[in-house]
């Protein structure tokens, strides 16, 4: 974990300053640690730009591919929801693959384990970072979708769509972080990550696509009132259950 030349990748713990505990003083509170780790993640991403631009570009390219594959100039309703969510899901997989790579390769895991902080801080920081990447991805992909492929106007669908996107993103972030940590120290990590994550994310796809479909329908009613509540409830339940489970098991992945 020694310092690296400034114009290459930052060392995994380079940006953060977790204050070393003086004897007989309290170790830093968890929120402080999470904030510090999150700041490091976002700084590294901003300087290296290795995940988010790729994810966004992938999403836009996928929309183009869909245009040719479906031979359609505009989609609506079920088809629109399907195209949007499949694209977002696969773009998210790209981000998941990269999430722990820097830590695994540059000893970030060991550095974190040596610090006297709550282990779940790393989980929280990584989930929030992945969530941030997903939000940026959607800031690019959803307008692009509205422009390229969506038949009905995006503006009407937006409020309800934002609620669906938010809930689905949390689910993808939680499961994505777990699977990223699981896959990063295996041999076929780029293959195993999506393979593990896709079945686990099927309920998210079901909930998100079914919730978005009436919003994106021709003459569809937008606004949060247009979304069937049961799908939002399903997404919420999924986020809650898996949030708890991942919180419980994550530390077993960090031991070495």
């Amino acid at each position: 974990m020694s310092a690296v030349a400034p114009d290459t990748h930052l060392p995994a713990t380079g940006g953060a300053r977790v204050p070393p505990p003086a004897p007989r003083s309290k170790p830093p509170g968890t929120l402080v640690v999470v904030a510090a780790l999150l700041r490091k993640e976002l700084l590294v991403e901003l300087r290296t730009l290795e995940s988010v631009p790729g994810m966004s570009l992938f999403a836009v390219s996928t929309f183009v591919v869909f245009h040719f594959a479906l031979n359609r100039s505009s989609v609506d309703g079920d088809l629109a929801a399907g195209v949007l969510w499949v694209t977002l899901l696969f773009a998210a997989m790209l981000g998941v693959n990269r999430l722990f790579v820097a830590d695994a390769e540059q000893g970030g895991f060991d550095g974190f384990l040596l610090a006297p902080v709550d282990r779940s801080a790393m989980l929280a920081a990584k989930v929030l970072a992945l969530l941030a990447y997903l939000i940026v991805l959607e800031l690019v992909a959803v307008p692009a979708f509205g422009l390229l492929l969506l038949g009905p106007s995006l503006g009407h669908a937006l409020p309800g769509l934002l609620a669906v996107l938010a809930l689905a993103d949390v689910g993808i972030a939680v499961i994505g972080t777990l699977i990223a940590a699981l896959a990063v120290r295996t041999r076929a990590r780029d293959l195993l990550g999506p393979l593990l994550a896709l079945p686990l994310l099927v309920p998210v796809v079901i909930g998100a696509a079914r919730a978005s479909s009436p919003l994106l329908a021709l003459g569809g009613h937008g606004g949060v009132g247009g979304v069937p509540i049961k799908w939002l409830a399903t997404l919420g339940l999924y986020d809650l259950v898996f949030g708890l489970i991942v919180y419980a098991v994550f530390e077993f992945l960090l031991e070495d």
């Binding site: 777990l178 699981l182 593990l196 079945p199 686990l200 079901i206 049961k230 399903t234 489970i245």
Partner: protein, 226 residues
Amino acid sequence: MNSRGLRVLSISTVAAFCVSLCLVFFYAPIEAEEGFLQKIFYLHVPLAIVSLCGFVIGALLAIAHLRTGDQRWDLRSYVAIHMSLIFGVGVLLTGSIWARGSWGHWWVWSEPTLVSFLIVFLLYATYQPLRFAIEDPERQARYASVFAITAGAFVPLNFLAVRLSSSYLHPRVLGSSSNLPAPMALTFVVSLAAMALLFATLCSYEMTAKRTRILLKSRSRILGYR
């Protein structure tokens, strides 16, 4: 499990299956709607229930492994999940045959139980590749347990989500295990018991074989030959 226990298990499994098959073909009445095809119900549904319980048991065993650090729990978890996966193949194949007989297609998306099972199967099919991609045995066991717990929690959620998404008005024939007439209910319970016994027997055999192989390897290492 010693050899006497294994023998008891095996014999009771065979006996249970004999009884169950007699009940299925000679005692249970022919169902009004589906006719003779409905007999697959006594094979397909017990397979599915035992398989799903096996996955959940695998998750519970994995929790025990993470809490105690004892590798034997991990071995039991692995065997339970592996066996449930094999039973899962049976579920999908028998379900497909039933769908073909009922609706003329080898696969139907309108049957939520079958669809959920496919997703669960695809998930657990990654369990072994995950294990074999990690070389360090202790880390392999730990990561596998984490996966088993997550996947075990996923199973009920998945069933809920798929069930909600199925908007078809088909009468759910494959899942009609509620309000069965008494002779059918009895046959079903016996078939379920037989399938559960088979699961336990095969798991015990698998555990014994694995433990023996571990012993063999450690002995040969002690003697310095491998």
